[in-house]
Amino acid sequence: MTDAPRGTGEKDVSTTVQKIIADQLKMKPADVRLNALLQNDLGVASLDAMEIILSVEEAFGIDIPDEQAHKAKTPGDIVNFISQRIEQSSGK
């Protein structure tokens, strides 16, 4: 979806995830609150969720297993998962 270079700091991860979700839902990134419920608050349908996960995977160069994707209920969950993966891969 979005080919801009991604930062890997926590704030950069949040900003990127919010932008990806906003692009998919055609809303403003600022309206994508990190603690909003993806389905009930933001109106993310199942197909939206699949598009968002693929865009996130491409943006950060990681795989998100289906079971992990199903666990994500908020944008913050996605941000946390990515941040953990980045920490693991950098050996922190």
Binding site: K26, L47, E51, E58
Partner: protein, 412 residues
Amino acid sequence: MSPARAVITGIGAVTPAGTGWKKTWASLLEGRSGIRPISLFKADGYRTQIAGEVTDLGVPSSISEKLMATTERFTHFALAATHLALEDSRIDIPAGSVDAGIVMGCGMGGLPYFELQAEVYARKGARSIRPGSVPRIMPNAAAAYMASQWKIRGHNVTLSTACSSSNHAVGYALDLIRTGRCRVVLCGGTESLLSPITFGAFDALHVMSDKNSHPAKACRPFDKNRDGFVMGEGAVIFVLEEAGHARARGANIYAEVAGYGSTNGSYNILAPEPDGLEMSQSMEAALRDANVAPTSVQYVHAHGTGTLNNDEAEALGIRKTFGAHADKLMVSSTKPVTGHMLGAAGAMGILACALSVKTGQVPPTLNYETPDPACLLDTVPNKARKSSVDVALSNAFAFGGNNATIVIRGEA
């Protein structure tokens, strides 16, 4: 008890000749061609570099930005045309109606998006193919989104028989009303195939005109110097309604869809039988279905693509069906104005027939300059004609030897 009758009470058009039936109809009557050099992709390397593109798609405010962003051009056209048809009809279809249906014709659906994903696959691999591809590409996507947008929950069918698709769609809709399965059906066709590989596949068949330097003159149905069709795109959608229902609510009725006939040439996947028999049999079947004598017909909107094979066979087919009456018929093709709208082509012809019946004006065949002895007919050359039309036929013939004819009759 005679079966229910079906009447057109709303017309929505998104065509290279203009958005809204009034703009399209004015372009047809005035002979303003929408054929131009292709702008939707870089067409330099192709034999044919011209087409009819929709340039003034007005997206209704009721269609969300997200819906537009997650669907393809052929679906955009269908949504916009549906909005226009419903507005024109002033019909109120209650949300959740199961006696309201949708029947659409669409040849190939979202192949342009498939092309983009083929490129993604080649560049980034299988796991980068977008999850949203299937509902963008499938030919019934347009009808599915029409249903969800307007909460229509009855029959929803998309027919795909290439260039005859939308004649079949309107015929199927007629049957739904005759049998009482639906009281109102949104029906017609949509298509948009102006993309590098899909267009290139037609280009490779050498069936399109290569008069690139004179786009508006390129498509020349029944003219001796015709050299192929010109591709168009767009959607034409009708509100087809059970006649009693339409009258009871005081609807404006354009015309009756009075008959539907179809044959299958079983001859050649890309060419009609040269003697026009399969086409003639389609017209005869439609006339029988409408219980109309050939001599009662004044106008035929021909399939009239401007290819050597179609026009000659169609002219012979018309002579077989109408005999001596063929010399009294007006026969025109509006494809020089809109281009060949493929899955929406039949509906475009039905629009021309319905408005001819309603207004007493017959659209011309543009670019008819040199008669071809092999297909001599009154093609209403180059200039619209004022003439009363009680009964008209719309022909649509397709690759696959697939033929469909619709009979349009003035509403008595």
